[in-house]
């Protein structure tokens, strides 16, 4: 029973990981950069949502949509002001720029909202569901459902919409896309907007589960193992990797934590990453385009 409980928890947390990982994958596919500031993107969402809900007294759904819009603007601004300037810069510059960005955004959040933990007004029903002995909080269940719906929407979006197609084309071969008359700049901007929105949604869901405080941005690092495991350029990989890491993390936390005195949850994903990098650097679903030396 304990095992099943841990499994369910892992799946639910993993679904949110998958959502946040999607942001990484989108940006990596379109621009070949890894957005290490993703954790701070996640951080902005719930704060904005909270402000909208408490200061303007709007219902959750309206605040949610408002958050999406503001997140989109944030993504656009970051792309315009920082990422576009570094288009042809070496990898280390882009990595460093996103690290700088994460510091800057984290500082901004601290300055504006301080360090205290805030809680969302109850959005989802509070009484836990008992599914044959396994206890599931409605927040978890709802998060899982919302994530699933979003992932389906995104998959369809990539497959069938014109912009989704353009995004895939740019990711595949930027030169070719450019010479076919696509606006790579436009596609990149859209990518960052979507990534920021996805991160915002992930943040709101997380905020509903654990409360909102600046340490939430740690998920940006936790999700890195997810994308490596799944493959940096695979949408399916992000989802599967999210579930796997979520489950591994919870099982390790449940069974091994008492042995070493806690804290394994944050480390196990990185041990997995080292193994993956050694054995199969492109991840489970990533393309094999990695340059070997």
């Amino acid at each position: 029973m304990f095992f099943l409980q841990m499994l369910i928890n892992g799946i639910v947390v993993g679904s949110i990981y998958g959502l946040v990982a999607l942001g990484f994958v989108l940006i990596y596919r379109a621009s070949g950069a890894l957005n290490l500031a993703n954790g701070e993107f996640v951080l902005f969402g719930p704060y904005i949502c909270l402000v909208l809900m408490t200061a303007l007294n709007v219902p959750f759904l309206v605040a949610f949509i408002g958050t999406l819009i503001i997140s989109a603007i944030l993504g656009l601004v970051v792309e315009r002001l920082v990422i576009r300037q570094l288009q042809n810069a070496p990898t280390i510059s882009v990595i460093m720029a996103t690290l700088g960005l994460s510091s800057l955004l984290a500082g901004a959040v601290h300055i504006i909202w301080g360090h205290t933990t805030r809680t969302f007004p109850p959005v989802f029903p509070q009484t836990p569901l008992n599914l044959g002995g396994i206890i599931v909080t409605p927040v978890y269940l709802w998060s899982f459902i919302i994530v699933m719906i979003l992932l389906i929407i995104f998959s369809l979006f990539f497959k069938f919409s014109k912009i989704g197609l353009a995004m895939r084309a740019v990711a595949d071969d930027r030169q070719a896309a450019l010479s076919m008359g696509m606006s790579v700049k436009f596609v990149l901007a859209v990518t960052w907007i979507i990534a920021a929105m996805v991160a915002g949604i992930g943040g709101i869901l997380l905020g509903n589960i654990n409360g909102v405080n600046p340490t939430m941005s740690a998920i940006g690092l936790t999700v890195l193992p997810v994308v490596i495991l799944g493959g940096l350029d695979s949408v399916i990989g992000a989802i599967v990797g999210g579930f796997l890491i979520g489950i591994i993390q919870n099982l390790a936390g449940g069974y091994l934590d008492p042995l070493v005195g806690g804290g394994l949850k944050d480390v196990v994903p990185f041990i997995v990453v080292l193994l993956i990098l050694m054995l199969k650097p492109h991840g489970l679903f990533g393309s094999r385009g990695i340059e070997r030396v």
Binding site: L34, V82, Q85, L86, A89, T91, I92, S93, I95, M96, A97, L99, G100, L101, S102, S103, L104, L105, A106, G107, A108, V109, H110, I111, L221, L224, P225, I228, L232, V260, G261, G263, D266, V267, F270, I271, V273, L274, L277, M278, P281, I290, E291, R292, V293
Partner: protein, 353 residues
């Protein structure tokens, strides 16, 4: 008019040997000598506070040079410097406190232990580069800090350990100025080593690996050997810096070596200038003194924003991130490049080109 700042006015080198000389002209040698004399006499006219600050700068500079050997010379990104500093700090803490070893033995040992750990985590570099290597070193960072904070019986867990200042005979390096001398001398040795490293076969191999690794391999450079060697040499200096820092602050605890520290060191290297020794030093000074400069800015601003002091750490974080981004966009060459530009300006003064 004869220019006072620059004595040489062209490149008249006729042989490779001449080109590789450590000091191109006599005046250059004198210039460095004057600089070293200034550095060594500084405690006589600088206040105690500034001597302490400069000690921190010198220690950071040692670590930054170490990281620059890895990232700037060999082109391998590491986000795990913070943890390697921790390995150095904890090694010396355990050796001197638990086993009562002398600082003078534990200091090189700290470097060697860190070099071994760094070399181990450098092994993935055989198959990985760029982004993937960055993530592997990030994993090293997380795993090492976890081990440090959980291995209570050896490291004292989250409580950390207390160290003492090094001694020679009856003399203890207790005062700020004595520790300043210790750090400056080790910094000078580090600079000499790394400048000379660049002039050797190994240094040239590093540069070749950075510029085009596959071509380097075709020319007969053993990539695996040189990549891991870069990790080992770099980690050695980072370990030395960690040990020096631990004995200076006289305390080690896991949160002193978190990922923020790694980012700070990367920022030193990047803001200073990739692949430049002088740049590493300038970057270390810049990042170490940034909080000091910000304090005075905050002092000015508190008149308008009274609660800014409570937000200081957040403000520091914000400006730190902003500085990194601005440098990346407007001066990717870093402080070193700015310095070269200034020198060049004076070289051709009063003509603009």
């Amino acid at each position: 008019m004869r220019n006072l700042f620059v004595r040489e006015c062209g490149n008249y080198k006729t042989s490779y040997k001449e080109d590789m000389k450590l000091f191109g002209t006599k005046s250059e040698f004198i210039k460095w000598l004057i600089l070293i004399v200034i550095l060594l006499t500084l405690p006589f006219y600088a206040s105690n506070y500034w001597v302490g600050m400069l000690t921190l700068c010198a220690i950071s500079a040692i670590g930054a040079i170490g990281l620059n050997i890895l990232t700037g010379f060999t082109g391998q990104i590491s986000i795990g410097v913070g943890a390697f500093l921790g390995v150095g700090g904890y090694t010396t803490a355990i050796l001197t406190t638990t086993y009562g070893l002398s600082f003078w033995i534990s200091l090189p040992l700290a470097g060697i232990v860190t070099a071994v750990v760094g070399g181990l985590f450098g092994i993935p570099s055989l198959r990985l580069k760029g982004l993937y290597l960055a993530i592997a070193t990030l994993a090293a960072q997380v795993i090492i800090t976890f081990i440090i904070s959980r291995w209570d019986s050896v490291t004292g867990g989250t409580a950390g350990m207390v160290l003492s200042r090094p001694t020679i005979g009856n003399f203890t390096f207790m005062s700020n100025s004595s520790y300043y001398y210790l750090s400056i001398i080790i910094l000078i040795l580090t600079v000499l080593y790394s400048v000379n490293l660049l002039r050797t076969r190994v240094g040239r191999a590093f540069l070749a690996v950075r510029d085009r690794d596959i071509a380097a391999q075709i020319m007969g450079i053993n990539l695996f050997y040189y990549k891991v060697l870069a990790f080992i040499i770099s980690s050695f200096f980072v370990g030395i810096a960690g040990a020096l820092l631990a004995h200076y602050t006289m305390i080690v605890s896991p949160e002193l070596y978190n990922i923020q520290v790694s980012i700070q060191y990367l920022a030193m290297v990047l803001i200073g200038g990739l692949g430049s020794i002088l740049g590493s030093i300038l970057g270390a000074i810049f990042i170490t003194l940034l909080p000091v400069g910000l304090t005075s800015v905050v002092d000015l601003l508190t008149a308008y924003m009274p609660n800014l002091y409570q937000l200081f750490s957040a403000f520091k974080e914000f400006v730190f991130g902003l500085a990194i981004i601005l440098f990346l966009i407007f001066e990717p060459g870093g402080l070193d490049h700015i310095w070269q530009n200034i020198k060049h300006y004076f070289k051709v003064w009063p003509f603009s080109y």
